[in-house]
């Protein structure tokens, strides 16, 4: 009997409710409430915190997207002198999409993709010309790049908004969590595109232009001729060899088609080319220094892969060795205005190219040097 009376008071004491002080009892009950709330609703609370973080990034993405659209319209009005308001045409342009060829039967897909990209490029250029009738060829290229950066910002915003709304609608922690986890990288890319907008609108060189910048340094002062497609080439004496230096035709925002250019140069000089050296901006890993130079083998070229394929095909017939020199930078630096460290790295890269040429070819040989990248703000 005694035991039965004592037990509830022990339990009360153990639960912190038996002190007799009402404040302490309330505090104890609140503590238990907190524990149960966190046990049952902890995940939901965590999700709301994540949703808030995503919301804040989405808000910033919206600002960047609107800023992109505004910059594009302002630049078109300033340069192109359109007769009507270009806003509706810009909005239509921002929603433009490209459908990749069917890959169930991959045979011949490269040529199909090449054709689709050509059609897209021409279509977009025509749109730009219609929007900005007073612009010259260089300005058309720059405007096209500006609109493409605005298009990228619009796309990023819409994709992030889609997953945010879907996660919120379904209250799926995992959708929101995945989105929240990749957001820092997405934001970095969006910020880079945002700063690229201004670079494209003003025709300033971007980090990706380091390849054409190096090629321009090598070919400056020598006679330049055009090669297909949208590329230029100069024959330059280089370390007692003859270098055919090629890059996209600048200073408009243009990447050209280095695949076609290399193919044309190899065909023009069938059997005489002893090496192809490609110079490009390469993605650096965290911890690596910006503007660091690295050397390797293979076709240093990004994009959808069409040009890489063409270059690899072109060198196969004569089994020409293919060397690559890259200037390391991250995605943010590649699409935004060229940083001083990257501009300074051009000289170091030229020295590395000289080393490659001296080590891998003989005096009197003929070589091809390709500066790969967007040549905006870099002439020749």
């Amino acid at each position: 009997m005694m035991n039965m009376l004592v037990q509830p008071s022990i339990l009360n004491n153990q639960l912190g409710l038996g002190s007799g002080d009402p404040i302490l009892t309330i505090i104890s009950l609140l503590s238990y409430l907190f524990i149960f709330v966190f046990i049952f609703y902890g995940q939901r609370i965590q999700m709301y915190v994540m949703i808030r973080e995503v919301e804040s990034s989405l808000f910033k993405l919206k600002l960047l997207k609107e800023e992109g659209r505004k910059t594009a319209i302002e630049t078109i009005n300033e340069i192109g002198k359109p007769t009507a308001d270009p806003s509706s045409k810009v909005d239509r342009y921002l929603e433009y999409f490209t459908i990749a060829p069917q890959n169930m039967d991959p045979s011949g897909i490269v040529h199909k993709l090449d054709h689709i990209l050509d059609v897209r490029d021409e279509r977009l250029k025509e749109e730009v010309k219609l929007m900005a009738p007073a612009s010259d060829e260089v300005q058309v290229y720059n405007l096209e790049n500006t609109l493409e950066a605005a298009m990228a910002l619009n796309f990023i915003y819409k994709v992030v908004r889609h997953y945010y709304l879907q996660g919120k609608k379904t209250l799926s922690l995992y959708t929101i969590m995945q989105l929240q986890m990749i957001l820092p990288l997405v934001m970095k890319e969006a910020e880079a595109y945002s700063s690229a907008l201004k670079a494209f609108a003003y025709g300033q060189p971007i980090g990706d232009g380091v390849g054409p910048l190096i090629a321009a340094r090598l070919m400056h002062g020598h006679e330049v001729r055009k090669v297909p497609k949208d590329c230029v080439v100069a024959t330059v004496p280089f370390e007692n060899r003859t270098a055919l230096v090629t890059k996209a035709e600048g200073p408009g925002g243009n990447v050209g088609k280095p695949g076609d250019a290399v193919k044309a140069l190899i065909e023009e000089n069938r059997g005489k080319i002893s090496a192809v050296i490609m110079i490009d901006a390469g993605l650096k890993l965290e911890g690596e220094a910006l503007g660091e130079i690295a050397e390797g083998i293979g076709a240093a070229i990004g994009g959808p892969g069409v040009d890489q394929y063409k270059i690899e095909e072109a060198i196969m017939e004569d089994k020409i060795p293919l060397y690559a020199v890259i200037v390391k930078e991250d995605i943010g630096d590649a699409v935004s205005m060229m940083r001083k460290e990257i501009s300074n790295a051009a000289e170091k890269a030229i020295e590395r190219v000289k080393d490659v040429v001296k080590e891998r070819t003989k005096e009197g040989d003929q070589i091809i040097i390709v500066g790969v990248g967007n040549t905006i703000g870099v002439g020749q």
């Binding site: 505090i27 973080e53 804040s56 910033k60 800023e67 300033q204 200073p251 205005m337 501009s343």
Partner: protein, 140 residues
């Protein structure tokens, strides 16, 4: 351009009421911690434990919110970098730097050099590292 829009937008986004509640909670949490320490010296161990627990939980929650709001405002401010153009006379090697002007591009020919009458060219266009980048990499 982005800066102005972003900063004005950010001030609208963070609610003043929520911010005021957060700051009040922050102050109350500090008071709870101080009261907890006082209770400890007065021998009320149990009260001390509760007050400190409440104080630290409230401090953590309000501190987190304040930190998040500050981060939110900070990330919306995008620095506008300074773009510089380097002009060089290839013949006599004289270099000068000025701010970028629309129409500048690398290897654009400019006026004649004042010293040797040879044509000057633009040899580089680059952006100066922003304050954030300089803090990250002091050698930049």
């Amino acid at each position: 351009m982005t800066n102005k829009a972003a900063s004005s937008g950010s001030s609208n986004k963070i609610s003043t009421f929520v911010l005021a509640v957060t700051y009040i909670t922050l102050i109350l949490s500090i008071i709870a911690i101080v009261a907890g320490v006082t209770a400890f010296y007065e021998g009320f161990i149990e009260v001390t434990a509760y007050l400190l627990a409440i104080g630290f939980i409230a401090l953590a929650l309000s501190g987190y919110y304040v930190f998040q709001s500050r981060k939110h405002v900070a990330t919306l401010k995008i620095e506008t970098p300074k773009i510089l153009t380097t002009i060089e006379c290839i013949k006599c090697g004289i270099k000068s730097t000025r701010e970028f002007q629309r129409g500048d591009y690398v290897y654009k020919e400019l006026d004649k050099c004042s010293k040797c009458e040879d044509t000057q060219v633009i040899t580089a266009i680059y952006r100066e590292p922003t304050l954030k980048e300089k803090e990250k990499n002091p050698t930049a």
